[in-house]
Amino acid sequence: MKAQPARASAAAAKLLAGPLTECVACIREGAAIPADMVSASFDRADEVGAGKDALNIFISTDREGATESAKQLTAHLGRAEPLGNLAGVPVALKDNIATLGMPTTCGSRILEGYVSPYEATVVRRLRANGAVIVGKTNMDEFAMGSSTENSAYGPTRNPVDIRRVPGGSSGGSAAAVAAGIVRLALGSETGGSVRQPASFCGVVGVKPTYGRVSRYGLVAFGSSLDQVGVLGRTVEDASIGMEVISGCDPLDSTSADVPVPRYELEKNAGLKGLVIGKPREYFPDGLDPRIAQECERALDAYRELGATVRDVSLPHTSYSIPVYYIIAPAEASSNLARFDGVRYGLRVLSERGLNGMYEETRARGFGPEVTRRVLLGTYVLSAGYYDAYYKKAQAVRTLIAQDFRDVFASGVDVLFTPTTPTPAFELGAVKDAYEMYLSDIFTASANLAGVPAMSVPIGDAAGLPIGGQIIAPHFGESVMFRAAFGLERALAGNFVPGEQDA
């Protein structure tokens, strides 16, 4: 029998709870051992009840593999090439990112037990920088959902309040960071799937510019919208994670050959002279007053820091949800065609031959939300409907993108908005699909336009975290982080990210 894994030292537990830079510095100096960081992470998971019967944060974990990579890192210490910016840092990955050695299920029955024979570019970059992958996090099936209730492996619960959802679709990653199991996790965005759960769980969530981060190995949902994003405890942690995964990749033809700046240099840049746009469409009359209030406080903080707040308009905002729910399902209906039972994943044989196998495999393999979107997407691409739906939606999409170009061309540096229309809701509370879709009402437009956006904790409503969203121009991550660092510092003490749990 195997010996019970040693409990991590108190020092490692403390490092796991502290800033990334400290952890990395200690490991580089030899003051901490990567394997202890892995133990600390798994101990923390036990402590907070990350398992299936409680928070249900992970679809799979790999303590042995993580310990093994940690030991290899230790063996590397002292060699010529220095350890990377994430040396010894435990990291969790959303389960739609192809990973060696662990299943990649996308939260779906159809990929139960599927292990990718190759690894996503973002994972290779993480590993090359010394990150240790501890597990794959729960998610809405194929990233379709806003609550992580649509997982074939059961819902994830919000560590802040176990009766509530963590948001979605990257709910497992947001919960893993919020619960202090990892300092950093990767999620993915198609319409707000990193920012919305970040907001619900009180952590930082970043969606980069479309093309900033390679999609190679991210299981596609809406290819023209998808980006890998990071969830972190602090703006600095998130900025370090973003810097590691960003950059052009020859394996992704939509990745952009644009130099990646040092985002953490924005930490002390200050906000004097920065123009913050406040788009009126994101502050509607019916906005939850608690959210409106926290946003106003954040805007006041900006003014105090020397930034100017300017009222602006993005007139096509109201079309973003309808446009999103045409384009994303259309692309999804095609992207998910490969799950046909022929080469990998679930196969259900049928007496009705090939078509029977397709139908049975997909009917049993996909959950109701995925089925709904595949049908929706198939419909909008059909002969006779294409022009009325898909083509029209693409036309409106360009108008939405133009709104952003116009407002940034008018001298606005970044936009500030609420991330979500409500704080985290209770499990099972949102039953209507369309109502659930409205969770993305403030986030989907950034995906449609391809601009970077992030959610930063700005306060709470009776203990439930509230996030503020910062949106920047294409490849304007630096100014976005600058605005986020400033806001985080101004609000420190007001709300400490990640400190809300026991």
Partner: protein, 486 residues
């Protein structure tokens, strides 16, 4: 009442030709595009459509596609767009084929396939040339009761060449196909082999009364595996349609399969025509943007095409137009000819040997010309040996046969086989004496003045010498040897 006969109907044909581009790797990944590897060995996450994999366009494929489009007189667009063609099939790993739809690579080309009796050129319009990827292969007859899938071919780059419905007979369709094959082979775009599947044809055909301007309802014929099969299938399908129309029926738009064994077309069981492919722009690939300057350069670098080469061969080597026509029917043979003609300085001899011995030997061996054992330089050497009287014509043919078998140079073969001309008087005298001794009655009649026997006796000497005797010298020596020692 006049009987409506088949002659009163006109055949209208449009062809869709799929051509595999001659690239080392596949269209969207770095897997080998070679034909004939063991099943599922040339595959990777991209062409297996593993979750998360993404396509990256092969630029050599683009260059070959552009070359083909320009060779077919098309206008190449500076921007074209890849699109997904969605349908489920086990050998289509992604559940969609990456193709081009409403913004193809190139449009509006044409080919002149011949001329009418009144010298009017017959021109066939080319609607479009677009890029796409091939599917894998379903193997139905290998395992009992199940279908196997081989994905080596999945993702191999293709172009589809769509013609206008400009052809009016199966012969015109055949001429169009042979010309396309010839041009693309010359342009170095493809191996254009129907046997290996690097050229595939779907034929659209309809019938209408002569003089009608509206097109009839067409059917699409698939499963044709040679140019002659295309011609036979078109004739058969046309006859079927005309019979239908004459009996007052209507043609229904459908896919027909050609059954070569029975010599007839029959409706495909698949409901292919009811497919809604749900095309939309491929979001994983940016629009294909080509620089006008680059397109022009690709055009300038196209190797010499058949028409130009025919004219040049006549001018440069002073061979006859029919010989030039024959030689240029294949890019390989005309290149081989030129190499032989240049090295031997004997274009006439080169024509005869290339179209005669070389062509026959290559066919008999069933190899590609570039794998053929006799290299042009060696054949040129043999022609020089013939011209310099080092070998006889008979011996040259024997030497050539050995060269085909061994790949050895002619001088070596001639030496090894003792096939160099023997003009040494004593050796020749010996052979002649033996022949005269072995054929006493012929010898006697010859001596008696029956001079027409000269040829027979010389032939016997040549035979005895295994072709190495110099026939001129044998002719000179025979009368004096027959007279006997003086």
């Amino acid at each position: 009442m006049t009987a409506v006969t088949e002659r009163e109907y006109e055949m209208v044909v449009g062809l869709e030709v799929h051509v595999q581009l001659k690239t080392r790797t596949k269209a969207f990944c770095s897997c080998s595009a070679d034909f004939g590897a063991p099943p599922n060995t040339n595959v990777c996450p991209v062409c297996l459509a593993l979750p998360g994999a993404l396509p990256v366009l092969n630029h050599h494929a683009v260059e070959l596609a552009v070359r083909a489009a320009i060779a077919l007189e098309c206008k190449v667009h500076e921007t074209s767009v890849f699109a997904r063609k969605n349908y489920f099939y086990p050998d289509l790993p992604k559940g969609y084929q990456i193709s081009q739809y409403d913004k193809p690579l190139a449009e509006k080309g044409w080919l002149t396939i011949g001329e009418l009796e009144n010298k009017t050129p017959v021109r066939v319009g080319i609607t479009r040339v677009h890029m796409e990827e091939d599917a894998g292969k379903s193997v139905h007859d290998r395992y009992n009761g199940v279908t196997a899938i081989d994905l080596n071919r999945a993702g191999v780059p293709l172009i589809e060449i769509v013609s206008e419905p400009d052809m009016r007979s199966s012969a015109e369709a055949g001429a169009y196909l042979r010309l396309i094959k010839q041009i693309l082979s010359y342009a170095g775009v493809s191996d254009v082999s129907m046997e290996e599947g690097s050229l595939r044809v779907d034929a659209n055909v309809s019938a209408r009364l002569r003089g009608a301007t509206k097109l009839g309802t067409k059917t699409e014929i698939k499963n044709v595996n040679s140019f002659s099969a295309v011609e036979r299938a078109l004739d058969s399908e046309f006859t079927r349609q005309v019979a239908l129309l004459k009996s007052g029926g209507t043609v229904s738009q459908q896919t027909m399969l050609w059954d070569g064994a029975r010599g007839e077309t029959r409706p495909s069981r698949s409901k292919e025509e009811s497919h809604d492919y749900r095309y939309f722009p491929e979001p994983d690939l940016p629009p294909l943007a080509l620089d006008a300057e680059w397109i022009a350069r690709v055009g300038r670098e196209i190797p010499e095409l058949p028409d130009a080469r025919r004219k040049r061969l006549v001018d440069e080597y002073k061979i006859t137009p029919p010989d030039a026509e024959l030689l240029t029917s294949s890019a390989g043979f005309s290149e081989y000819f030129e190499a032989v003609a240049r090295a031997s300085l004997d274009p006439k001899g080169a024509v005869n040997w290339v179209m005669g011995e070389v062509s026959a030997a290559v066919n008999a061996a069933g190899v590609h010309l570039d794998e053929f054992a006799v290299r042009p330089a060696d054949l040129a050497e043999l022609l020089r040996m013939l011209r310099d009287d080092v070998v006889s014509h008979t011996a040259a043919k024997r030497i050539f046969a050995r060269m085909v078998e061994t790949g050895k140079p002619p001088v070596q073969v001639a030496a090894e086989e003792g096939l160099q001309k023997v003009d040494d008087d004593s050796a020749l005298a010996g052979w002649i004496d033996e022949v005269l001794a072995e054929n006493p009655s012929e010898a006697a009649r010859y001596r008696a003045g029956e001079t027409k026997l000269q040829g027979v006796l010389v032939g016997l000497v040549m035979k005895k010498s295994k072709g190495s005797a110099d026939p001129k010298k044998v002719n000179q020596l025979l009368p004096e040897r027959a007279r006997g020692p003086s």
